[in-house]
C-alpha cells in the first residue's frame, strides 16, 4: 500500500489537532478570556467617554487580539515537541511545510476564529460605530491568520529552548507591528466613514505572503530546533 496523498494526510493532521484541542478545551478559553478581559477593562480604566473610546477602540481591539494571539502561540508546537510527535512529523513521507500549514490552520481555527466571533461584541463595548463593524471583522479575519503564521515561525525557532517566552515575544512582536498598523487604521478609517480598501488589500497581501512563505520558514526552523 502506498502512502496517503499529502492533502489527505494534512486533513487527518488537522482533524487530530482539532480533536486534541477539544479534549483540552479548558486551555482554549484562555486566549479568548484574555481578549475579552483587556477589552472590557479598558473602558473602566479610561472612563466611559464614548468619544475617547471611539478614537482608541480600534487600537485597543487589535492590541488585545495581538496579545491574545501571542499568549496562545506556544501551543502550536510545544506539546508536540515534548512528547516526540514533532519528530514523527519531521520524519513523515510528506513535505513538512504542508503539515506545518495544517497545524497552523488548526491553531487559528481554535484560537483566532473565536476572537473574530466575539469581536463585534467587543466593538460595541468600545463604542465602535456599527458601520465599522464589518471592517473590524474583516480586518481580524485577514489579520489573525497572519499572526498565527508568523508566530509559528517564531515558535518553531524557540521550541527547543527551555524558557522561550521572552525571546518569542521579542522575535515575533516586531513582525506583528505592520499587521497592527494597517488593521487598526482600517477600522479607524471605517468609523470615520473613509474608504478602507487600501488597508484591507495590504492585509490580504500580507496574508497571501504569510501563507506561502511562513510554513516553509517554520519547517526549516523546526529542523534547526530538533537537531
Amino acid at each position: 500500500m502506498s502512502a496517503l496523498s499529502t492533502p489527505r494526510a494534512m486533513a487527518l493532521l488537522l482533524r487530530r489537532d482539532l480533536l486534541l484541542a477539544y479534549r483540552r478545551r479548558a486551555e482554549l478559553i484562555n486566549p479568548l478570556l484574555f481578549f475579552v478581559l483587556i477589552a472590557t477593562l479598558f473602558p473602566l480604566g479610561v472612563g466611559a467617554d464614548s468619544r475617547l473610546l471611539q478614537t482608541a477602540g480600534p487600537g485597543i481591539v487589535w492590541v488585545a487580539a495581538l496579545l491574545a494571539a501571542l499568549l496562545s502561540l506556544d501551543s502550536v508546537f510545544r506539546s508536540d515537541f515534548e512528547d516526540g510527535t514533532l519528530e514523527q512529523l519531521m520524519l513523515s513521507a510528506h513535505p513538512v511545510s504542508l503539515l506545518v500549514l495544517a497545524k497552523v490552520f488548526a491553531h487559528w481555527l481554535v484560537t483566532g476564529v473565536p476572537l473574530i466571533l466575539v469581536s463585534p461584541l467587543i466593538g460595541v463595548l468600545l463604542s465602535i460605530p456599527s458601520r465599522a463593524m464589518p471592517v473590524l471583522v474583516a480586518s481580524l479575519a485577514l489579520g489573525t491568520p497572519v499572526l498565527s503564521l508568523i508566530g509559528a515561525v517564531g515558535v518553531a525557532l524557540t521550541v527547543g529552548l527551555r524558557r522561550a517566552g521572552i525571546i518569542l515575544s521579542l522575535l515575533v512582536l516586531p513582525l506583528y507591528v505592520p499587521v497592527l498598523i494597517f488593521a487598526s487604521s482600517a477600522v479607524d478609517a471605517a468609523s470615520s466613514g473613509l474608504p478602507v480598501g487600501p488597508q484591507l488589500y495590504i492585509l490580504a497581501a500580507m496574508l497571501v505572503a504569510a501563507v506561502s512563505l511562513a510554513p516553509v520558514a517554520a519547517a526549516a526552523s523546526l529542523r534547526v530546533s530538533l537537531s
Binding site: 500500500m1 502506498s2 502512502a3 496517503l4 489527505r8 494526510a9 487527518l12 493532521l13 487530530r16 480533536l19 486534541l20 479534549r23 483540552r24 515534548e82 512528547d83 516526540g84 510527535t85 519528530e87 514523527q88 512529523l89 519531521m90 520524519l91 513523515s92 513521507a93 510528506h94 513535505p95 513538512v96 503539515l99 529542523r223 530538533l226 537537531s227
Partner: protein, 213 residues
C-alpha cells in the same frame, strides 16, 4: 504470503562524526547495512548512540561524513527517505490525549500504511486488545511503549531505527517485540538499534558497533 522488501535496499554511512559542546563523541564511523541485517549500537551512556540514530534518521546533521540510502544521500532524498524508515526514539511520539487507535491512525497517515496488519491487529499483536479506545494517558509506561512499537507494524517501512526499544517493557513484551524484529529481518527489513538488554537475535546478520571503543 508474507511480502518481502526489495532485496537491493542498503543503508550506508561513511566517515561520520558528531561533535557536541566541543566534545567529539565519535568520528570516522562508517558501516554498510544490507537487507535482513541488524545493527546494534553499543557504548556507555553519553557515548553518542542517540545522536548517531538521529543522524541516521536525518533529524540531525552529521558534523562530517554522510549517510546514503540505496546510494543517494539521505539529506537530498528528504521525504522519500522518511517514507522508508520508522523511528521510535526516547520519547514515545504518541499523543497522551488520543487513544492508541487514533495514534496509530495518525502514524499511518504520516507514513505508509501496512497492507498486512490493520490498526486493531497491530494493537492486538502487542497485547493491547481492549485498550484501543481509552486515552493513552491512562495506560502504564510499558503499555505506552507498546503503542509506540505497534506503530512499526501498523506502517510499512523497511528500515527501523530504534532507540532503547525495550525500555519499560515487561518480559512478555520483550519476547513479543523480539519475534516482531525477527519477522521483520526475515522479510528483508533492516534494523538499527541501541539497547542495554541482551537481544535473543544472533548470527551473521547481527552487526555490532561499539561507540566507546
Amino acid at each position: 504470503m508474507v511480502r518481502t522488501f526489495d532485496p537491493n535496499l542498503s543503508l550506508e554511512a561513511a566517515d561520520l562524526a558528531c561533535i557536541r559542546d566541543d566534545r567529539v563523541l565519535f568520528e570516522h564511523l562508517g558501516f554498510t547495512l544490507a537487507t535482513g541485517e541488524l545493527l546494534m549500537l553499543e557504548g556507555r551512556n553519553g557515548s553518542g548512540k542517540t545522536s548517531l540514530l538521529r543522524i541516521l534518521c536525518s533529524i540531525r546533521l552529521p558534523d562530517a561524513g554522510a549517510v546514503w540510502w540505496c546510494g543517494e544521500e539521505v539529506q537530498r532524498l528528504g521525504p522519500d527517505y522518511h517514507e522508508q524508515l520508522s523511528y521510535v526514539g526516547h520519547k514515545d511520539g504518541i499523543k497522551q490525549d488520543l487513544t492508541p487507535e487514533e495514534n496509530l491512525r495518525m502514524a499511518r497517515a504520516l507514513g505508509r500504511p501496512s497492507p498486512e496488519l490493520d490498526i486493531p491487529e497491530a494493537l492486538e499483536l502487542f497485547g493491547l486488545y481492549g485498550f484501543e479506545d481509552v486515552p493513552t494517558r491512562t495506560l502504564s509506561a510499558g503499555q505506552q511503549r507498546r503503542v509506540a512499537l505497534a506503530r512499526l507494524v501498523a506502517t510499512e517501512a523497511p528500515l527501523w531505527i530504534l532507540d532503547e526499544p525495550f525500555t519499560s517493557l515487561d518480559r512478555d513484551g520483550i519476547g513479543v517485540f523480539e519475534s516482531v524484529m525477527e519477522t521483520h529481518l526475515e522479510r528483508g527489513g533492516m534494523i538499527v538499534m541501541t539497547t542495554h538488554h541482551r537481544v535473543a537475535l544472533e548470527g551473521e546478520r547481527v552487526k555490532r558497533i561499539n561507540l566507546t571503543a
